[in-house]
Amino acid sequence: MTERTDFLYPFIEADERDAGALLIDLAESARGKAAASAELRRVTLEQSATAVGAAAAAMTDRFARGGRLFVFGNGGSSTDAASLAALFIEPPWGRPLPARNLVGDSAVLTALGNDVGFDLVFSRQLMAHAGSDDIAIGLSTSGNSRNLLNAFTEAANRGMLTIGIAGYSGGEMAQSRHVKHCLMVNSDSVHRIQETQAALGFALWRDVQARMANEENGR
């Protein structure tokens, strides 16, 4: 979405004293961004319903086999990865499920970054921890983060279930044969992408919980 305020104030900014016009414009801009975010979430969840269901079914199967979830990302996406791991292991309702984020330990991250390079900070952790029952979820707004692509390659080679959550048109993650399920948020705003990526993660969690509850009731 274009930023209206970029051209609304062509007068000499340093002499501007009345904040009223700016505040009105800021509030309008905030409402526009909130509306755009809500619409992107709605459209994305609608278009991704089948893909989310397939990924959640595969996740449920892995969890049932004793698998664990590993989540990773860079920058703001690293915090979203941590949030997603927390949702699985400390859920607001339902069954707590084993999940870890690979971005939380500064000793591990700096050791790997310093010794083998930042491109390998996630793949090397998967080599140490993960097996064929486990699940890898990587979040990237561009879909092109080298350390995520390397992690997906390692994960696929280990027989893990691989799920990518990407923005724009999915970047290299969407093309990679090592990413089994790729969920995409079609937007060119990093912020709006991250908001809807969180919604996709929540939809995955919710679907896994529902499937587990159904299986337990069915027995």
Binding site: E3, T5, D6, Y9, I12, E13, A14, D15, E16, R17, A19, G20, L22, L23, I24, D25, L26, A27, E28, S29, A30, R31, K33, A34, S37, R41, G75, G76, S78, T79, D80, A82, S83, A86, L87, P92, W93, V190, H191, Q194, E195, T196, Q197, A198, A199, G201, F202, W205
Partner: protein, 245 residues
């Protein structure tokens, strides 16, 4: 707060756009004055880190890097007490009933810090922070889900976006912060009716060093029974007149 809110109201219902606009301009003014943004999220530390990285390393090329820090401590008040300087901002991403967040928010005035509280679910009381940015989730099946599905993240993303818009208006950044007294009127914050202070050290039987928005002051506590470091006191004319519960 009042003047800015008046500017915005214009007969319309208040929605999230208004408090976001006001918080963004206030935050930009603090940054312009040299302030640092301290971010806490006792229950969800990753959200504090997300806010801080937005400001420190902007996703949009050309936007300035601004000083923001996430503080991950079990009792953030203990750490922030030493780190926060007058003119800074403390931002919490937290549920409305977090006791460790409340402990920080009620002390921030004594530290000279402006406060922003972002969250979802049951909100804190209206005066718990200078700026409260809350997800309206009344229609949800369960309160607090917006913490997990991106709707709470939206609030701090938009706060970041609007703050940078404010930097395109340097003439408006020099203005006095609305929470402070600058126009000769008596305001609760700055008048001597009862300024908030946090006791930091004992100097003798009835003299204490107290941290206030003005700095460290020597305060007479003779009329109080017992005061200990960490206590919040109300100060009037150089004397502590009450200890807050």
């Amino acid at each position: 707060m009042t003047a800015m809110a008046e500017d915005l109201r214009g007969g319309r219902d208040v929605d999230i756009g208004d408090p976001l606009a006001i918080a963004a301009l206030s935050l930009a003014r603090r940054f312009a004055g040299g302030g640092t943004l301290w971010c806490i999220a006792p229950e969800w530390p990753e959200h504090a880190r997300h806010v801080a990285v937005e400001f420190v390393h902007p996703v949009l090329v050309g936007k300035r890097a601004l000083p923001a820090v996430s503080v991950d401590a079990s009792d953030p008040a203990v750490v922030l007490r030493s780190l926060v300087r007058s003119g800074d901002v403390v931002l919490a991403v937290s549920s409305g009933d977090s006791s460790s967040t409340l402990a920080v928010m009620r002390r921030a005035e004594a530290w000279g810090a402006m406060t922003i509280w972002i969250g979802a679910g049951e909100p804190p009381t209206a005066r718990a922070a200078d700026h409260i940015l809350w997800v309206d989730d009344d229609d949800d099946e369960q309160k607090g889900l917006a913490v997990h599905d991106g709707r709470m993240v939206l609030l701090y993303h938009v706060l970041w976006e609007l703050t940078h818009v404010c930097f395109e208006h340097p003439g408006l950044l020099a203005a006095t912060d609305e929470a402070e007294c600058g126009d000769g009127e008596v305001c609760i914050t700055c008048s001597d009716e009862g300024r908030l202070g946090e006791v930091i050290a004992t100097n003798g039987p009835s003299s204490f060093s107290v941290r206030t928005a003005r700095g460290v002051e020597m305060i007479d506590t003779m009329i109080l029974d017992a005061v200990a470091p960490g206590d919040l006191v109300l100060i009037h004319a150089g004397v502590a007149i009450a200890v807050l519960p």
